[in-house]
């Protein structure tokens, strides 16, 4: 059975006067996925997010989020979606708890559950003791965590995170990425907009590359690499056995080239996914320690794609 599509944009378009911010985009996000949306500034990422949330009206096309049209049923969409904007703002004069309680009431959470949910959400983001502290005293990292706590408190089926790590230090970023993975573990679908390609690559199942208001490419990083960088699939094989391994590996039909990366590590450029064939060939004779796709760098894919776009222009 196909996975349920929880976010769908069909020919979604937004114009501001003569400027096209989002140009007939098509996008699907399946339940439980983490999908990254990438692209340069002004490529339409945030406008798309705002349209999906019902915060701005599309000029054309349609969207469906959690089974509802954000234009017609924005309240139903917002009930099911947690949103963390890029630089999240709170009322500085209120405590963390009061800030969350206010949005909790607006979200229609049952009053008797709000305190409980706030405590659980704050604990989950690693700030169990800050409930009574004024948000005005919080660092940026703490505010971002508080923003994520707000998303968690709502117990949404979808979380839309717009540049959530843009202002965080490296340590906080790693912790935040772990929390995003935790959302997936909870069954929450995540749409993540970011400029940090390595972060996107480390948490996302699929990515959509935006350019000039259009989805230029979408798919897994491996698929994008295949399309942008050309060539075949790159497979890393960890195996103990010395020089004969290389010959055996090169003899697998479909393997184009073999590189020796280390005493027990080989990289095979393949025409297709040959992991099973390679395992079958090597396992009986050698001590096969591991076989996996060599993840191409999203950074490389992104850079190459936009270099080509510039060259074509």
């Amino acid at each position: 059975m196909a996975e349920e599509v929880v976010i769908r944009a069909q020919e979604l378009t937004k114009r501001y006067g003569g400027t096209v911010a989002v140009d007939h985009i098509n996008l699907e996000v399946h339940a439980g996925e983490i999908v990254g949306i990438l692209g340069p500034n002004g490529s339409g990422k945030t406008t798309t997010i705002l349209m999906l949330l019902g915060l701005t009206e599309p000029t054309g096309g349609r969207a469906e989020v959690a089974g509802f049209d954000p234009l017609r049923d924005p309240l139903e969409v917002k009930r099911r979606v947690g949103y963390l904007p890029d630089t999240v703002g709170f009322y500085d004069g209120l405590s963390a708890r009061d800030n969350l309680a206010y949005t909790g009431r607006l979200a229609g959470l049952p009053r008797r559950e709000i305190d409980e949910r706030i405590a659980a959400a704050l604990a989950r983001v690693g700030m169990p003791d800050v409930g009574r502290e004024r948000v005005g005293t919080f660092s940026r990292g703490m505010r971002q965590r508080l923003g994520l706590a707000e998303v968690l408190m709502k117990q949404p089926s979808i979380a839309i995170l717009d540049e959530p790590t843009a202002t965080l230090d490296p340590h906080s970023t790693q912790e935040f990425l772990a929390m995003i993975r935790g959302l997936k573990a909870d069954g929450i679908t995540v749409l993540l907009s970011s400029h940090h390609l390595d972060q996107v690559q480390s948490v996302c199942d699929r990515v959509a590359l935006f350019n000039r208001g259009r989805v230029a490419l979408s798919g897994s990083v491996t698929e994008l690499a295949h399309r942008v960088l050309g060539g075949g699939y790159v497979i890393d094989v960890e195996v103990r056995g010395g020089t004969p391994v290389r010959n055996q590996l090169a003899a697998v039909p479909g393997v184009v080239r073999v590189q020796v990366l280390g005493p027990e590590l080989y990289r095979a450029d393949c025409e297709r996914d040959l992991r099973t064939e390679i395992a079958r060939r090597l396992a009986p004779s050698f001590d096969l320690l591991g076989i996996r796709f060599a993840e191409p760098s999203l950074n490389e894919v992104y850079t190459r794609y936009f270099d080509e776009v510039r060259r074509a222009a």
Partner: protein
């Protein structure tokens, strides 16, 4: 396409939060201190003056509001006419732009509420705070008057004073709506505050002195012609004057708190035939006289708020 769900879902929650913010904030403490000072000083000097001239008027409490007691050159009406807009502007100038500046707007509007609820809740909360400030002022003056004069106000006086209070709230509401409009238009709260105060200054000091005579002359000709005052000029002036909320408020205060006021426009000698000059009108007649003014103030508040509402609905929410 028609949106589903009530546009006012969550308005009560916004109202409660905003009202709590307003009432517990330092701004409200300053406003209440101002109110306390004005009420105490004015009521003290006015009651002193009234005690020395008791018996001159049957409407002692109305005199409390209308007289300019020595050494203060202003009456209570004059002071409230100045203070109510200032309080209203102080409450409203950063109502919406502060949400943009704190970057809370997109987070709040990502909750299941419409913008309608947010704007309405914010406006009503501030109107509530303004009402509390003005009612406090009114009650304090009434209380000091009661204690110092040793008499309760008559029912007629009470009705007129309540009418005056309602008109004052509506007048403050107009300036609150103006401040609200500028807080939607301008991202910088200082710009919104200055624009609101600037507009208030225009209507308070320049409208009747410079703008109104100039425009009336352009429309209806000079104020005097060969046969005396030009009626067309007088009527045009009056229409132009009544564009100003200050005029509407001043006329309402005059008719309600000075019961002998029989008309608010030009009067011909033929109309005065048989009239008992100086005799007070019944409260109901005074209310009929100022009904258009009170309605105008309330309508002005609603129209200006509606303009702010439409502009806010069309704004891009990215913060």
């Amino acid at each position: 396409m028609r949106r589903r769900g009530s546009p006012f879902t969550g308005a009560g929650i916004v109202l409660a939060k905003e009202a709590a913010d307003q009432l517990s904030g330092i701004r409200m403490v300053v406003i209440e201190a101002l109110v306390f000072l004005i009420a105490l000083v004015l009521a003290w000097f006015s009651t002193t003056a009234i005690r020395e001239s008791i018996g001159e008027s049957p409407f002692l409490f109305l005199r409390l509001l209308t007289m300019s007691p020595d050494p203060i050159p202003f009456s209570f009406i004059d002071i409230v006419g100045l203070v109510a807009p200032v309080i209203a502007i102080a409450l409203g100038f950063d109502a919406v732009n502060a949400e943009f500046n704190q970057r809370t707007l997109s987070r709040i509007l990502a909750q299941p509420i419409y913008r309608d609820a947010l704007l309405l809740g914010k406006f009503l909360a501030r109107l509530l705070a303004l009402t509390i400030a003005l009612v406090s002022l009114w009650l304090m003056v009434l209380g000091v008057g009661f204690l110092r004069l040793g008499l309760p106000p008559s029912f007629e006086e009470l009705v007129r004073m309540v009418g005056f209070l309602v008109a004052t709230i509506a007048y403050g509401g107009v300036w609150l709506a103006v401040a609200f409009l500028f807080s939607v238009l301008f991202r910088a709260p200082a710009t919104a505050a200055l624009s609101s105060l600037g507009l208030w200054l225009v209507f308070s000091f320049f409208w009747s002195v410079v703008i109104r005579p100039l425009v009336a002359t352009m429309i209806a000709g000079p104020a005097e012609d060969l046969f005396g005052p030009n009626l067309a000029y007088v009527q045009t002036s009056q229409v132009l004057d009544r564009i100003s909320p200050n005029t509407l408020y001043a006329e309402t205060a005059l008719a309600l708190l000075q019961p002998s006021t029989r008309t608010l426009g030009p009067v011909f000698l033929s109309q005065l035939r048989g009239a008992l000059i100086g005799a007070p009108l019944p409260a109901a007649q005074s209310f009929i006289l100022v009904w258009p003014q009170i309605t105008g103030l309330i309508a002005g508040m609603i129209v200006i708020f509606a303009i702010a509402y439409v502009i806010f609905q069309r704004q891009e929410i990215r913060a």
